[in-house]
Amino acid sequence: MSETYKIAIIGSGPAGMSAAARAAKKGISHILLEKTDHLSDTIFRYQKGKHVMATPSVLVLRAECEFDAGKREKILDQWNADTKAAGVNVKFNADVTAITGDKGDFTIQLKKGDPIKAENIVLAVGTQGNPNLMRCEGGNLPHVQYQLDDPGEYTDEHIFVIGGGDAGIENAMGLIADAGQNNTVTLVNRGADFPTAKKPNVDGLLAARDAGRISVLTETNTALVEPGWITVDTPQGQSRFKCDRIIARMGAAPPRAFVEAAGVEFSSPDRTAFPTLTPTFESTSKPGIYVIGALAGYPLIKHCMNQGYDVVEFISGNTNLEPADEPLLVEKLKGLPGKRSVAEWLEFLRSNVEILNGLSPLQMREFLLDSTVRSYKAGDPIFVRNEPGSSLFGIAEGSVNVEVDPNNAKITVPIGKSSIFGEVGLISGRKRGATIRAAEPTICVEIPRMAALKLMSQVPQARETVNRITTERQVLQIFKSGLTPADIQEVLAGSEVIEVKPGEAIIKEGDISDDLYIIRSGSMIVEKDLGGKPVFMSYVPAGSYSGEMAMIERAPRVATVKAAIRSTVVKLPADPFRKLLVRKPELAKRMTDEMRARREINAFIEEQKDEFGGAVDMYSSVANFLIKQGIGEATDVLLIDESLCVGCDNCEKACADSHDGLSRLNREAGTTFANIHVPTSCRHCEHPHCMSDCPPNAIRRGPDGEVFINETCIGCGNCQRACPYGVIQMDKPPPKKPPLWEWMLFGKGPGPGQPSYEWRKKAAKAEGGESPKLAIKCDMCSGKAGGPACVRACPTGAAIRVTPDAFLSVARLEKTG
């Protein structure tokens, strides 16, 4: 048997390659095992010429291989040269099938060739390199491929694309894009529909099929692959077709089974879970196996390369290695009182802030990279009422005062050390509900929304703490009236957090129930049955309550309350609350007053219904239409009154001219109901879908509530896919246009608005240089004093921007009625 390596690295992506290069530089005996015949298959599989970004830009790269943003080809060449120069011992075509043994004596089984012995193993296989394979006979023939680099490469071929997901459809559409290539393309799909693909892709495919440009075989499986031919099982029986090339895109699976078989445990059975690791990336369940890179939960290239470097240092016994992020943390903590070192700061915060108690030192480091530590003098405002903000604050030292009464800053509620505040904005995305000032010299850690959500998902203890405090605070904030936490403990003891699906009712008209509900996130609509038809009564945004009439009057429910979008509500039991009302007459008066106001609105609508039935029906159906369009989760939406819109597209032109020449709205597209048109334009959702999976965390909420994408965007397209309203596009800003007066006087350039594709292409060529495609969306003209340009530039007043609670208010009915 051959030598035993000190380190065997499985996977030659950025992480594995970097580890191998470090090992080679240190002269440690190592072997880099790569399944394919080239390094870094994931990057290799990017389409030709793709621009690869280097984020996070603040992070210092510490690796033996160089990496900078640039074209795929350039980066791959660089890495090939670097690994060669470092003297990395690579074994290509080494497909690992199993890992056995323990630290110091591992055996790695390969598909082909002798097993390999190693003392330590670095797993850097990523999550991409595992496509599902063709299982039928002939599936291993050379004309079967699992990727498509350049659709323009093939001409005059009969090509079968297997798989009706996005990848398959996009490949197939790429192959037929240029009719001049004269390919005969067939897409084979196992099912009758395309449930996993995006709707525009499916629509495009079906349109192409109807136009006769592509054949689509549904409910079909491949039965046999032969050189030049393919045989498929269709519902009508078996058919044999001419076929020069097969592109199989049947999905990929993270290689979890393989990793678990080696003894590495994952943090949960969840599909997206990662292995549990020590601060030195070692598996907690299987010492000697180190997991780095995407498989460890770090999808960015720079992270991966740094971890490759670090893991080799750890294995070779360098436990004093200063992390690559150390200078960043030093910079971050500079100027704070206390003269603590970074490690002392981490421990100080971890032990003093309750929600951080459960974090490991490694998690703490990463957490602090995203967060900010601030110190305040007594009386300093930390945030101000009605300021937008979604970050969470933890108090590490000192205490703060919450000014609960907007009219009297003297009335305050204290929050002490180790607790948190700002959680309402975190949960609901709404503006700050109160001003908070430091009561004494105070040190707080400000945790941005994404970091806070990550924290809550990783540390159950943090999640429970935040949830408990949130409910308590929300109750206090909604009902105000000088309530203290002690007053509401009994109410809270019986409270229940409920997730509500869109359209699901929490209260049904006529029911005998008397609980009170607080809308924590999402929004509700109130409907009443009038003359056999449900009539829209009002819209209840997050941070309000519903159900007080039945609770106070002990009468059946007078209206139905159902979720406009996916929402979270807190159910408060009626009896303890009624006792609270008895104890707190001020609260009772407040609620009775609000109840009277709501009742008046209901009465007004009912009265209108009798006199102007049509107007009420219209109001109700418009409201329902808007809710269906997702306005319920919007915070600011552009609407166009089609009775005023002359179709001049000045809104689009203004948008393009105030944003690098690209319009972020499509006036014509979108849905219409009764004169109200909802164009394809961002509605700045309360919980933006686009934010859910942004690798560089580039999507933020700005000072006016706008959701915007900052300059750290890497162009991955996740947000575009996540947005259910199709308002994000991937594009590169066009070159600068000549000034307007030159266009007006001499006809130079494309004139106002987004330049045509042809002009952009020509101008970009003349200008030279490469610019990547990035995600582009409405930023509500952030930073422009005049507000959104689309509205300012509308000549007829057709374009308006509204918030749902203002627009869905009864005021509309008064106007039309």
Binding site: G212, R385, P406, G647, M744
Partner: protein, 292 residues
């Protein structure tokens, strides 16, 4: 939920009002006031003079300067509309003022003439101004009435979708025509290759597409003798269906273009007449001062 404090929101237009009703007819009121005052002063002055005040009197100069200033300012709408600056402005307010102050010129400029007309450059400027205002009034009518028709016609179909639908029908026709003989193929080619969607402005405005190639192709197709084979007969039936669909799609797109053309038609008078007016205005002013 309406407390505001601590944070100042940027100015945002949430009011749902058209340009004619802008701010409760603010500019209509201002324009009317201006006209009433000007008329009152004019007749007050006129009652004390032997002859009515002409353009050369102090009142004439005042009215003339005001009118000329207004004309230049009104013409600036074309620039305001295209320069998207960052500050707070509302194009709707500009349009509202443009409409009402523009209409007030009919009174101000008429008073300026002192009701003296002749075959000269001065009256030419006046006539051009009235032409601009008349075409503008047509525009107001178009903007007030046509949007409903425009959007009613298209429903939720976008321009691109209309074009895509036509392209898709053509592709399907091409595919279906494969079994046809030479005559049949020529008819399909006529529809695919010769159909002209829009045409010139006049054609779009009037919607006269009597010579539409698709329409002719459909007529010729129906007049074809029964084909020899069943395959061809099937193909012909399919193509007839496709051509009828195409006729509908064409009609929708052309109606859309027709309404758009109607919305723009007045501008073809309004804009050139404005430039002519500016030229005549300069001539008018220069000649007045040159021959003083």
């Amino acid at each position: 939920m309406t407390q505001v404090g601590g944070h100042t929101e940027r100015v945002r237009q949430r009011t749902h009002e058209g340009f004619l009703r802008h701010k409760g007819f603010r500019w209509a009121q201002i324009a009317t006031g201006l006209c009433v005052v000007a008329t009152g002063v004019y007749f007050f002055v006129a009652s004390r003079l032997a002859e009515p005040p002409s353009g050369g009197s102090w009142l004439g100069y005042l009215l003339g300067t005001a009118s000329a200033g207004l004309i230049v300012w009104l013409a600036c709408l074309g620039i305001r509309k295209r320069v998207i600056t960052q500050g707070h402005y509302s194009l709707k307010a500009w349009v509202s003022a443009h409409v009402y102050l523009g209409l007030s010129l009919t009174v101000l400029a008429t008073l300026h003439t002192g009701f003296q007309f002749g075959w000269n450059v001065h009256t030419l400027a006046y006539a051009l101004m009235m032409l601009v205002i008349a075409s503008g009034a047509l525009g107001v009518w178009a903007y007030a009435t046509l949007p409903q028709r425009l959007h009613g016609n298209r429903g939720e179909t976008t321009r691109k979708q209309m074009l895509d639908a036509l392209a898709s029908l053509d592709a399907q026709m091409h595919e279906a025509a494969q079994p046809l003989d030479r005559n049949g193929a020529a008819i399909v080619r006529l529809s695919i290759e010769q159909t002209d969607l829009g045409g010139g402005f006049w054609k779009r405005l009037t919607g006269s597409y009597g010579d539409c190639a698709n329409r002719r192709a459909l007529q010729q197709l129906r007049a074809l003798p029964s084909p020899g084979s069943a395959v061809q007969a099937e193909a012909l039936t399919k193509i007839e269906g496709l051509m009828t669909q195409k006729a509908d799609a064409l009609a929708l797109a052309r109606r859309q273009m027709g309404i758009t053309a109607l919305l723009e038609a007045w501008l073809f008078v309004h804009i050139p007449a404005t430039f002519a007016l500016l030229a005549a205005l300069i001539a008018h002013i220069v000649s007045v001062f040159a021959y003083w």
